[in-house]
Every structure is written in C-alpha cells, then in structure tokens.
C-alpha cells in the first residue's frame, strides 16, 4: 500500500518486456469479464494442475524431461530392431534375384546400387516412424509444450530466449521444420541465434547412422548411445547459443509467456496419423533424392578413369574420397567415410547409404567393413561429426530463405564444419587418453 500523499513510483516501461505488459492487460480484461459472469468458489485443482505441480517442478522438471527423452529413444531404437531385420531380410531375398541378372552391369546397379543403397536406407523406416510416433504422442498429450517450459527456466538463466526451445524440439524431427519454426521467436538476434543452432539438434536423417554405428560397435548399450547423441545435440545447441549471445548476437532475452493447455489422452488415430504424415516424407525422400543419389554413388564406385566395372579402389569414388582423406586423417576416417560425408551434404541419410554402396561394390558387407576399418573411438567421433557438421541442402536452402542473407547462410555452414571437426578431434584426444 502507498500512503496518502505519496506518489506511486512510475514503472520504468523501457525495461519491461512488452509481451509481459500485453499478457497483463489481456489477463486483466479476462479477469474483469470473469468477475461479472462467474461466481468464484473454493480454488480446486484438476488432474492437469496436479501433474504440472510435478512435471514443471523447479528441481524435478528437468530430470523427468530426461526420463521422457530416454524413453522416446529407447522405444525408437530397441523396438524397431526386429522390424529392421525383417526389411533387411526382404531386400536380401530380392537381391538373390537381381544378382542373377545376366548383364553384370545391370545386376550390379540393381543389387549394389539400388538395393544396397535405397534398400539399405529403407531398413531405417521403422525407427523413423517410431520416432515420429513418440513425438506425436508427446505433442498430443501436451507434454511437449511443458518440456519447452521446463527448459525455458534453464535457458533463461544462461541469457537465452526461452521460446527458442520449441523450434529446437521440432529439430528432432527435421531441421527444415525447426528453422521455419523460428518465426515464432521474438527479436532479430534471438531468431538468428535459434536458426544457427537448430541444425545441431539430431534430425531423423541422422538416426540411421547412429543406429548402425551404435549397433555395430556398442550392441549392448546401443539405445543409450543413441540417446546420448541426441542429448549431445541439445547441449551443443545450448553452448553455441550462449557463445553467439555473448559475442556476435547480443540482445536482451525476453520472458516466455506460454498458455499451457490441459493434458490430453492422445488418440491412436491422431498419433498414428501424425506419424504417417511425417514419416512418409522419409519414404518419399528415399524414393526420389536418395534413389538418384544411390545411382550416382553406384556410378562413381563402378566407373573410373580406366573404364567400366573397375575395382572400387580405382573408381571415381576412390579419387573423390582420397582427395578429402588427408583432411579427415586426424579423425581416423577412411576415404570411404570421407566420400559418405561429402554425399551427406545432400541429405544426412546419404552418409550411410553411400558407405553401403561403396562397400557393396567392393564386395564387403557394411558392418564387417566398419569393424575392420575404424575403431570404436573413431566410430564415436564419426557419430559426433555427423551430428554437428553442415546441415543438409534442404536446411541450407531454408536458412537462406529465413535469414535472407548469404552471409549468415555461409556462416552457418562454416561454423558447423569447424565445430564438428573440433569436437570430433576432442573426442579422439580425450577418448584416446582415457579409454584406449
């Protein structure tokens, strides 16, 4: 209360977030209407409030979020393994027919190029569909908005924009969607920061390489390894956002005002529909871009300066891979991996697809080839590199569209390449010192 005769101190509106003022005004209007039409009774909570008491808890909110994330990736990875094997067996069975085609070049194209490439990448349809199903369920229950709220408190403490976490969460599905969702972020520098760090979140396209490498090198804890890669993506996004906010993109963070809907029990129809709508995009990509990519990769692996059907180590793919191999030598990546990473710029799925084709044309199974050519430590460095290096072509296009700047688009490519290389080198150095 202000005593009579004293003036009420004027609020310094310059330092108050306009969002908060607007929300205050809005809730005042709502309150006035309610006072006229509603007879207030004793404040009672509903089930939704009850859950929020715990899920948005100051200390338990974040650990619970981690449990939910772990459950999501455990479900995605462990449950899909047997279905992936079914698809592998199916394409293996198809391969027994295509490999018997009398024309050896056509047989190689169909068996090593198309079945070895697109067929191989299609084995990752189950985990990608399961990942989208998990995201849909979390969205439909209303937990995903709570997750943003939980992380907001954490991010605000580090001077970041709370609303930025929603696009980052969408980045689990696709980086293009994440970059486009930054339109909801207030402030030019806040939005730019979010655009720059969104591709660091692990999209569904990176999942195949995690699943393959974790399954080959760490079979007993593969689900946990995949979960840790996703967590590393979040951590790196936060670290880079802090660096950007403290250096090149300084701006005051504003508060996040979010109206949380009540929790809902998701319907099977709704969740499966969302899963299908998003997952089918992956199948379409496999049927178009990845099919074209696998034919190109097969051609590069089968043709060389000496002509047609040359050994793979005399092919154009070998020349391309060996040209970049010295750059990746400190990381322990072979020329085959270097070639895969170059093709990964088109789409992240192409990394593993290219590797499968190069090794298939060379007559070696991918899993066996990986075990014999790289160490478990190099495998971790490879996963980290794929997580952090240049976003795919579609994402780069979206960054250009959303920022309207070639400079920032170029910066996003260069900084991610440098970051990926630096962190992968750190993995090799620290891992080499402690675990080898």
């Amino acid at each position: 209360m202000i005593p009579h005769g004293e003036q009420e101190p004027e609020l310094d509106l310059e330092f108050i977030d306009p969002q908060i003022l607007l929300a205050d005004e809005r809730y005042e209007v709502i309150g006035n209407i309610l006072r006229e039409v509603y007879e207030p009774g004793q404040g009672k909570w509903i089930l939704s409030d009850m859950f929020d008491r715990v899920l948005l808890h100051r200390y338990l909110g974040l650990p619970i979020f981690l449990v939910v994330m772990w459950a999501m990736f455990h479900f995605t990875f462990e449950i899909s393994l047997v279905f992936m094997e079914m698809i592998t067996q199916f394409f293996g069975w198809l391969g027994t027919f295509t490999s018997q085609i009398p024309n050896p070049l056509l047989a190689s194209l169909l068996t090593d190029g198309i079945l070895g490439g697109v067929g191989f990448i299609l084995t990752f349809v189950p985990p990608i569909f399961f990942l989208y199903l998990s995201i849909s369920i979390l969205e439909d229950t209303g937990y995903l908005s709570r997750a943003a709220f939980v992380m907001d408190r954490f991010m605000m403490k580090m001077g970041l924009h709370g609303r930025s976490f929603i696009p980052l969460l969408l980045g689990f599905g696709c980086s293009v969607a994440a970059v486009m969702a930054t339109r909801t972020v207030d402030g030019k520098s806040n939005r730019l920061t979010t655009i720059l760090v969104s591709p660091l979140m692990s999209c569904a396209g990176r999942l195949p390489i995690y699943i393959l490498i974790a399954g080959v090198f760490f079979p007993t804890i593969a689900g946990t390894v995949v979960f840790l890669m996703y967590m590393l993506g979040i951590v790196m996004a936060i670290v880079m956002a802090i660096i950007f906010k403290k250096t090149i993109l300084r701006e005051e963070s504003s508060s996040m005002i979010m109206e949380l809907s009540q929790y809902q029990i998701p319907t099977a129809h709704g969740s499966f529909r969302h899963m299908w709508d998003r997952g089918i995009q992956f199948v379409k990509t496999a049927g178009t871009y990845l099919l074209a990519g696998s034919i190109i990769m097969w051609a590069l692996s089968s043709f060389g300066p000496a002509g047609v059907s040359v050994p793979v180590d005399e092919s154009f793919a070998d020349i391309l891979g060996r040209f970049f191999e010295p750059v990746f030598l400190p990381l322990g990546f072979s020329w085959q991996v270097a070639t895969g990473l170059i093709f990964g710029f088109l789409a992240k799925e192409a990394v593993i697809q290219s590797l499968a084709i190069v090794y298939a044309v060379g007559g070696i199974a991918l899993e066996a080839a990986l075990i014999s050519s790289i160490t478990p430590l190099t495998a971790v460095a490879l996963m980290v590199f794929v997580l952090l290096y240049v976003p795919c072509l579609a994402t780069v296009g979206t960054i250009k569209k959303e920022t309207g700047s070639l400079k920032w688009t170029g910066f996003s490519i260069v900084y991610q390449l440098v970051l990926a290389y630096f962190v992968a080198i750190l993995v090799i150095i620290i891992g080499g010192a402690f675990f080898v």
Partner: protein, 159 residues
Amino acid sequence: MYRDELNLPEEGRWPSFFTLVIGLGYLLVGSIQILSSIGIVAPIIGFSDLISGFLLIIVALVFLTGVRPLSMNNQEGYAFISVGYILAAVMFALQVLVILTNALGWFLQFEDWISWNISNDITPSLWMFIILMTGTGSLWVVGNMREKILGSREGGLKL
C-alpha cells in the same frame, strides 16, 4: 484442494509410508544398477545399463519428494505419487515391448536373436513396477476390507 472427483484419501499417513518404502526401493535398486554397470559391484544379470540406473533414481526422487507433503496430510503429495507411477509404468511398458519384439526375433530365428535369452531382459524397471503394483493392489484390498469391517461395526453399533 483437489476436485472431489479425483477421489483422493484425506488421511496421508499410510500412503506417505508406502511412498517412502517404494521411493527407497527404487533408490536402492537404481544405485545397485549404477554400481554394477560401472563394475564396482559384481555384474548382475539385467543390471548392465548405467543410464537406466540413473533413471530409476529419478523415479525414486519423484516418489520421495511426495513423502513430506503426504505425511502432513497435504494432498499435493499425491501429484508426486501419480507422476512416479506414470514414469515407472512407462519404463515397465517399454521393457515389456522390448521383450515382445526380441521374442519375435527369436521366434523367427533371425541371426542376432538366436542366442537371445529372456533373463537378460528382466531388468529392475520391469520387476520393480510389478512389486509397486502388487504393493498398491494389496494396500487397496486391505483398505477396502478395513473400511467394510469398520463400516459393519459402526452399522452394528447403530442397530
């Protein structure tokens, strides 16, 4: 505080004791899993995943946070029990799904599943939830019987 239709008991002494026991149980098992997975105690079948050990401890913390409000008859404690149950149920359901899909692989005789053994998939998150539900069910039955007996006695006195 909560709406009547949530049907929460007014008296929180026994629920708080039960929550304390369950919370400590999850804490103990989670700690053993962590120690076993990093090799400090002897390896135990089903205790190999380090992260799962941490997750069990998080579930334990959710339960244990609810003990204090419940012991003071504050119904807010039921919120922690509910979320603890949900988290435990999610981990249990996931493990059941893992067993079912692994069993499918073993049934179809896929190469990676030929040597699969169900004992490796019987993890603490699976049997702790079974213990939790058995305990909850027993308490519910005992509570119902107690209510019936006390109700019939009161009825008898009235007559």
